[in-house]
C-alpha cells in the first residue's frame, strides 16, 4: 500500500516535470557566485523554493555575456539574480521578488554628500560597472562623468584612492565586496545619505520552457509560503549582512 502510494506521487511529479530545470546566474556576489554558499542568494533561493515545489533543479554560475548572449539563449531554463527589466519580459516570465536591495552612492570617509537627484550628480566623477544596470534615470544620464570599471571592487578602490568622487551599487554587493575582498576599505569609504533606487531581485523563466507559467506560479506560491513561515528570511540572512 505504501509502495503503491509512493509510486503514484512520483508519477504526478514526473508529469509536472519531464527534465531537470537548469537555473543559471552570473557572478554577482552575494546574489550569485561560484564560491558562495549555495552558489549565492538567488540560486540558493531558486533551488530551495523550486525543489520544495517539486521540481528538479540544477544551478550554475556563468558569465553575464554567456547568460544573456543570443547564441546561448535556450541553454538555460531559469535566470537568477535579475532586477526587473521590461525589455526582457518579451521572452522571460518574472517571478515575484524574493529580495529587495537598495542602490546607494559610496563616497570617501569624511565626505558628506547626500543624494537628492540624478542631475545633482553632474559635478562628480562616478565609477560605474561595465554593463551594470542601477536605475533607469541614472543609466540614461549620459551627461554624467562616468568612469567604467569591470568590478565593484575596482569602483570602491577608486573612490577610496580619490580617483573618482563616487560610485554606486547595491548596498549588499558593496558590503560583501568590502568584507570579502578588501576589508581595509571599510574605514576609507562610506555610503552617502539617500537612496538612488530600490531594486527587487527576481527569478525569471524562459517563456518557451514547457510549463513555464506553471513553474512560475509554483515558485511564487512556495515563496509566499516560505516568507510566511520565516524560512525565507532565514535563508536570505545566510547571504547578506543587515
Amino acid at each position: 500500500m505504501f509502495v503503491a502510494l509512493w509510486v503514484t506521487l512520483c508519477g504526478v511529479t514526473a508529469t509536472a516535470q519531464t527534465a531537470p530545470l537548469l537555473a543559471a546566474a552570473d557572478e554577482w556576489p552575494p546574489f550569485s557566485g561560484v564560491d558562495l554558499p549555495g552558489q549565492g542568494m538567488s540560486l540558493d533561493v531558486i533551488h530551495t523554493v523550486l525543489t520544495e515545489a517539486g521540481y528538479d533543479v540544477t544551478t550554475r554560475v556563468v558569465p553575464w555575456a554567456r547568460l544573456m548572449g543570443d547564441a546561448d539563449i535556450g541553454q538555460f531554463d531559469i535566470i537568477g539574480s535579475l532586477f526587473a527589466d521590461p525589455e526582457l519580459e518579451e521572452y522571460l516570465i518574472y517571478s515575484d521578488p524574493f529580495f529587495l536591495t537598495e542602490v546607494r552612492l559610496v563616497q570617501p570617509v569624511g565626505e558628506t554628500y547626500a543624494f537628492t537627484t540624478v542631475a545633482d550628480l553632474r559635478p562628480f566623477s562616478i565609477a560605474v560597472g561595465d554593463g551594470f544596470l542601477y536605475e533607469d534615470e541614472f543609466d540614461r544620464a549620459t551627461y554624467l562623468e562616468k568612469h567604467v570599471v569591470t568590478t565593484t571592487l575596482q569602483a570602491i578602490q577608486m573612490v577610496a584612492a580619490g580617483r573618482v568622487d563616487l560610485t554606486l551599487d547595491s548596498v549588499d554587493v558593496v558590503r560583501h565586496t568590502i568584507t570579502h575582498d578588501d576589508p581595509n576599505l571599510k574605514d576609507r569609504v562610506t555610503f552617502a545619505d539617500g537612496v538612488l533606487a530600490r531594486q527587487d531581485i527576481h527569478m525569471a523563466i524562459r517563456r518557451d520552457v514547457e510549463g513555464s507559467q506553471e513553474i512560475v506560479d509554483a515558485f511564487n506560491a512556495t515563496l509566499a509560503k516560505m516568507r510566511r513561515d520565516g524560512r525565507l528570511e532565514t535563508l536570505l540572512m545566510r547571504h547578506v549582512q543587515r
Binding site: 565609477a127 568612469h147 570599471v149 569591470t150 568590478t151 575596482q154 578602490q157 577608486m158 584612492a161 580617483r163
Partner: protein
Amino acid sequence: MIATLRAIGFDNRLGLRLVIASLIVGSVLSVLSTSAQLGASYFRQRTDATLVLSRIEDTLASPLEQAVWTFNFDQVDVILDGLAADPNIAFVELQSSTGQSWTRGDPDEQAATPDDQRVYELVHKLDNNRSELVGVLDVRLSLDAVRARVWAEFWTTFLTNLAKAYIAAIALLFLVGHMVSRHLRKIADHVDNTNADNTNALRLDRAGSEKTDDLDRIVDAIDRFECRTREQMDALGNEIIDRKQAEAEARQALSIRSQFLATMSHEIRTPLNAIMGFLHLIATYKDIDDKPRVYAETATKASHQLMSLMNNSLDMSRIEADAVEIKMTPTDIHSLAKDWHQSAEGMRHMRDKNIKITLDVARDLPPLINMDASHVTQIVSNLVDNAIKFTDAGEVDIAIKNATSDGNPAIDIRVSDTGNGIPEDARARIFERFTQADSGMLRAHGGSGLGLAICSELARLMGATLTLDDRIRDGFTTVFLLRLENVALVDLPT
C-alpha cells in the same frame, strides 16, 4: 665497398686532391658566410628584441596605466603575463602608487645584468592639465634567448652548408673522374703501351664537340708526337742499317790490313834478316879491304833502322787494331833491371857512345811484381835507346823505386839522361805520333817518330802512365817517368 668507392672516384687521387681542396675552401667559405648571415641575424633579432621596449611605450603603457588607475588588477595581470611571455623579457616589476606591486621573472638571474632596461612612469591625465603618477613599470631585457637561438641557427646553417659542400664535392669527384681522370689514365696507358709494333691512334671515349678543349689538344699533340717519332724511328732504322754495313766493311778492311801486315812482316823480315846476317858477315870478314867493310857496316845500320821502323809500324798497327795482349805475370824486377842495364850497355856500344850507363834499384822493392814484363821492357828499352841516342856525354840512368798512387802501391821507373834535353815548346806533344823534339833530330838520329807514341799507348793499355818529368835534378836534362799503378806486389813463397 671498394668497388663502390672506386665507382664514385675515390681511387682518383687527382680528383681527391681537388675535392679536398674544394672542401677546405668550401668549409672556410661556409664558416665565413654562416658567420656573416648569423651576425646579421643576431643584430636583426637584437633590434627586434629591443623593439619590444618601444612597443611597451606605444601600446601597453596606456592600457596598463588605465588598468592600474581603475584598480583592474585582473587586467594588470593579463597585460604583465603577456609582456613576460616575450622570451627576451627577463624581468618585469610594477609598483603602483597605491601600494600594490607585481613581478614577473626572476630578478636574481640574467635580469641582474640585463642587456637593456627601461623604466616607464604610468601617468594618468586628469582634467585641467593635471596628472597623477599611478605606477612605475621596470622592464629588463635579456638577449640570452636571442644568443641561444642564433647559436642554434649557426650550427644548423653551418652543418647544412657543410653537408651541401660535401655532397657537391662527392658529385665533383664523380664528374672529375668521369670527365677528366679516366681520359688521363687512358692517355697514360696509351703512351705506356705505344711502341713500334703498336701504333694505334689514341681515341678517347667521349662525345664529340665542335669546340675543342684541353683533352682534345692533348690527344692531338700525342698523335702528332707519335707521328714524328715514327718518322724519326724509320730514319734511325735506316741509319742503323747503313752503319752496320759500314761497320762490316770496316771490319773487313781491318782484317785485310792485319792480314797484309802479318804477311808483309813475315815477307820483309825474312829477307831483311838474311841481308843483315850477310852484311854482318861481310863486315866481320877479315880478308876484305876497309872500304867494302865500311860499306857493309853502313848497310848494316840502314838495315837495323829499316827493321826498327818496320817493327814500330807493326806495333802501332797492332795497337790500333786492338791486337795487343797484356799478360800480367809475377816478375823478378831485380833480375829484369839487370837485363835492362846490360841491354843498355849493348846499345851504348852499338852507338859507340862514350857515356856512362847507371842502374839504381831501390833496396826495398819487393822481389816479385805482377806486371807485363815484355811490354814494360819494350817501353824501357825504347826510352833507354832514345836517351843513348840523344846523349853524347855524361850518363844515362835507370832508376826503379817504390811509390804510391792514390794510396795504392806503385812502381816508378825513371829513365834520365844528360843529353840535349827537350825544348819547352815540344814537351807538350812529345807523345804524339810522328813527333820528335826537333825535326833536325830525325835527320841526325833517324827514327820513325812512333817510339814514344807506342810507349805511351802500351803504358795506357797496362794501366800505367808515361810522363815527361818536369822536375829536372841531379844534372839530368831529360827524365821520363813510367809509373806502374795498382801493381799487385807478390810475396815470395816461404
